[in-house]
């Protein structure tokens, strides 16, 4: 022991003497991110929080713009036949994978066919590619894809992380294909050269890169020679690492820390709304009490949403008015100011619905039963302080209308069991699909995979089906507006709360940070540079 103490002291002193904060070389930077990706294979991608990494290493065939239209990327042009069953892609002829393999029509076909290899990705094969029939190589730069039936979301698939192109050589020989990693060759502006699980990802620039998507801020190779993404799940630690200069960029800035960053003249803060659906409470219409539309409307009227959001998110949250998020081109603004914050109306509706008596705790009662409703959320999916938000809503509905709202945060298995047994009243969810229509397909039709309201309506199903078949964006907007009006206004099966957003905070010297236009999540590092 006597010998150990001086050694330990020496070690402490030695550590202190080293410059702790790594001085960033002017050509590289460190970016602290909240979430460690569970896979680095773009075709297995499932976490919106990990989306910012995908397009460093990989490129998709198309890119999607903010208004929902598409632009060229690895495919220079595309043609859709009049029956919307044949897609002809004209590919760039100057693209090579990181392993030197040439990118051509055959490699795109290999990537598409890969989804149908057993055990690779049944979910994408069954949803995004359910209409896919076959891909034919017409020439090295021309690929013809045939569908079994029209699918309005097929172009969205070609612009999604799933369409990230992997070298056919990697598809055959990667040690752990479904996990991805350094031995998966893409065509992107950066090459992944180090992955330390639980700690960081390190990319170096792809010097040959000259095929950025339409809309990129520059051409040629990326500005940064290298970039490190460090995983720091704790928000306060990320912010501390940024303010002390140990990292140059962070994503995921909670409302509680936003003020601190805004007040620091050396830092910048940017926010963008996510695409997809709003964070909403979906009412289970198959069970009492939410089988009664008056109770559903009363629940919404009992909550002063603006006050709740202000209290929980300190004014940084954007209120949602529809199931479709505000950033989506399909958002129906006519629904604004149509619900919430009317306690008198809530009480009137509940009286009419027969919930007239009150028990000792002040909750409404009918036929000896308390007006109780439960939300059952899986702890794994709680983010953005949604548990605190639920508690604030709980207080409001109790105080304003005598509703007993129980917030149950449980493990994923228990949550799933409650859903399977139809033993819940509220289902909370938001989806980050770059095309909100993809989310509505799952949430609203009677047989939709995520239809937790048990609501079905022939008109809604007809409109959604038509919107899924046509690629006419104006017509889709019209149809989705009708859908939103029915589910939000006429039937009140959903209670939209806020539009999820992403934040990036950075040192002032970091330029070119931004968000992916279609998804609203942080963009790749391609345009990022250290300026003055």
């Amino acid at each position: 022991m006597k010998r150990l103490i001086p050694v330990l002291l020496l070690a402490l002193a030695a550590c202190g003497a080293q410059p702790a904060a790594q001085q960033a070389a002017p050509v590289g930077l460190t970016w602290a991110v909240e979430t460690q990706p569970i896979t680095l294979n773009p075709q297995q991608w499932s976490q919106n929080k990990a989306r910012l990494l995908v397009f460093n290493q990989f490129d998709a065939l198309l890119t999607r713009n903010k208004d929902g239209s598409f632009g060229p990327w690895l495919a220079k042009a595309w043609k859709v036949s009049d029956d919307e069953l044949t897609y002809t892609l004209t590919l760039r002829d100057d693209v090579t994978f990181h392993d030197g393999t040439r990118f051509d029509a055959a490699s795109v076909k290999a990537n598409l066919d890969q989804f149908f290899v057993e055990g690779y990705n049944a979910a994408v094969a069954g949803i995004q590619l359910r209409a896919f029939k076959e891909a034919k190589v017409l020439s090295p730069t021309t690929l013809e894809i045939t569908l079994k039936e029209p699918d309005a979301l097929f172009l969205d698939f070609l612009a999604s992380p799933y369409a990230g192109q992997i070298s056919p050589k990697s598809l055959k020989s990667a040690k752990d294909l479904k996990f991805g990693g350094t031995d998966l060759a893409g065509t992107g502006p950066f090459i992944l050269d180090r992955y330390v699980p639980g700690q960081e990802l390190h990319y170096r620039r792809n010097p040959a890169y000259k095929w950025p998507p339409a809309g990129a801020a520059h051409q040629g190779p990326a500005h940064l020679a290298e970039i490190t993404y460090r995983f720091l799940p704790e928000a306060a630690v990320r912010v501390g690492a940024l303010t002390s200069g140990q990292v140059q960029v962070i994503e995921g800035v909670p409302a509680t820390e936003a003020g601190l960053i805004k007040n620091d003249p050396g830092l910048t803060l940017q926010t963008a709304l996510n695409s997809g659906t709003s964070f909403s409470y979906y009412f289970n219409t198959s069970r009492a009490p939410f089988d009664d539309q008056r109770v559903r409307e009363a629940f919404r009227a009992a909550v002063d949403v603006d006050a709740v959001l202000k209290a929980v998110y300190q004014g940084t949250a954007t209120r949602a008015w529809s199931i479709v998020g505000k950033a989506s081109p399909f958002y129906d603004a006519s629904l604004e100011n149509t619900f919430g914050g009317d306690a008198a109306r809530a009480n009137k509706l509940l009286d009419e619905a027969g919930w007239k008596q009150r028990d000792a705790q002040g909750y409404r009662v009918k036929g000896g039963k308390r007006l109780s409703v439960r939300t059952i959320a899986s702890a794994a999916f709680i983010r953005d302080r949604r548990d605190i938000l639920a508690q604030a809503i709980q207080a409001q509905v109790k105080q304003n209308a005598g509703i007993d709202f129980q917030v149950k945060i449980v493990d994923q298995g228990t949550a799933q069991k409650a859903l399977d047994d139809n033993d819940y009243e509220v289902f909370e969810n938001s989806r980050g699909d770059s095309d909100a229509g993809a989310a509505l397909n799952l949430l609203l039709p009677g047989k939709g995979a995520l239809n937790r309201t048990h609501f079905s309506d022939p008109d809604v199903e007809k409109w959604i089906a038509e919107a899924s078949r046509t690629s006419d964006q104006a017509r889709r907007k019209e149809l989705y507006a009708k859908v939103q009006q029915v589910v939000v206004r006429d039937k009140a099966i959903v209670f939209p709360l806020y539009v999820p957003a992403d934040q990036i905070a950075a040192q002032k010297s970091v330029q070119g940070l931004g968000f992916h236009p279609a998804s609203g999540t942080p963009a790749s590092a391609y345009d990022v540079r250290i300026g003055t």
Binding site: P197, L232, V237, G245, Q246, Q412, K417, N429
Partner: protein, 313 residues
């Protein structure tokens, strides 16, 4: 005579190995059963919040062999375990053995550093304060109480705020060399130093009141030599008994510490596996912890003999 002793020793070793294996089997089985009866089925977990269609479910059931009877799945699991195959992670798309292998070194590094920090601090403080004036003891024991009662998460945040964000002495994250290990090891080691320090000081003070201490003083031994050569040994016995407890504290605390400091390691893997119900990973971590406990308790039995000659006879 020596032959019989050797046989006895062999018997002891064999028996100990046998119990160890039985404990491991029980741990494997208990975790298997616990996850089996926990709500929600495996297919649901594998589907997650993604798309859920009968075709996708069928594909998943086929891929993971979930259509076999439970007892067959259990036996297959044990059989694979015997061959050192821990299975495949549901979420991480990799073999569990590989996941653990890449994450074990940083955790071992962290827990050893924390244990060394904790033990060193405890011994130093106990030696410095045992039997001394009231003020010194009061300060030390208050500090120990704080270290024990404040959650490690908070200790970590405070250490970061002071030594990393403000003073910039140590980096916040990663396993980049020894400087990145200092704060996590302190955050994890302080609660151990707190408990151990109290126990050691108590033991030392009791030992110094024993008749042998009086005899030793009468022989002319200095107080320092008395403490170092005789009393510390007595005080160590209860402290060593606590080692089992602090293995648990270290493994549990590693979960929080690793996430807070952005360090790789088993704690983080375990936490993500439990929330995502990634059964193969959870079971492997349980098995590994059982292995650590079994190994450690065997070593402790031997350590008692070394410290206290009375047990040897």
């Amino acid at each position: 005579m020596t032959g019989r002793l050797a046989a006895l020793a062999r018997l002891g070793v064999v028996r100990r190995l046998g119990t160890g294996l039985a404990v491991l089997w029980a741990a494997a089985t208990a975790s298997y059963v616990a996850l089996l009866i926990a709500p929600g089925d495996t297919v649901d977990i594998l589907v997650g919040d993604g798309a859920d269609t009968p075709e996708i479910r069928a594909a998943i059931i086929k891929e993971w062999g979930l259509d076999r009877p439970e007892i067959v799945q259990y036996l297959a699991y044990l059989w694979r375990l015997l061959h050192g195959d821990l299975g495949r992670s549901y979420q991480l798309q990799r073999g569990v053995g590989e996941v653990l292998a890449t994450q074990i070194a940083p955790t071992v590094q962290l827990t050893l550093a924390a244990a060394a920090t904790g033990v060193t601090l405890a011994v130093v403080i106990a030696l410095a304060t045992a039997g001394r004036g009231r003020a010194a003891r009061g300060v030390a024991s208050a500090a120990e109480l704080v270290a024990v009662s404040v959650p490690p998460f908070l200790i970590g945040i405070v250490l970061l705020a002071v030594f990393s964000f403000t003073l910039g002495w140590f980096p916040v994250s990663g396993a980049q060399g020894p400087s990145a290990l200092v704060l996590p090891a302190l955050a994890l080691g302080l609660p151990i130093a707190g408990v151990l320090g109290q126990v050691l000081r108590g033991g030392l003070e009791r030992a110094l009141e024993q008749p042998f201490a009086v005899t030793a003083r009468a022989r002319g031994l200095t107080e320092r030599a008395l403490v170092a050569r005789h009393a510390l040994r007595h005080a160590l016995i209860p402290a060593v008994t606590l080692a089992g407890w602090f293995t648990g504290t270290l493994l549990g605390g590693a979960v929080i510490t690793e996430a807070l400091f952005g360090r790789p390691g088993l704690g983080r893997v375990a936490m993500e596996a439990v929330t995502g119900r990634d059964m193969p990973v959870v079971m492997a971590v349980v098995l590994l912890s059982a292995l650590v406990y079994v190994t450690l308790s065997t070593l402790l039995d031997l350590a008692y003999r070394a410290i206290d000659p009375r047990i040897r006879g």
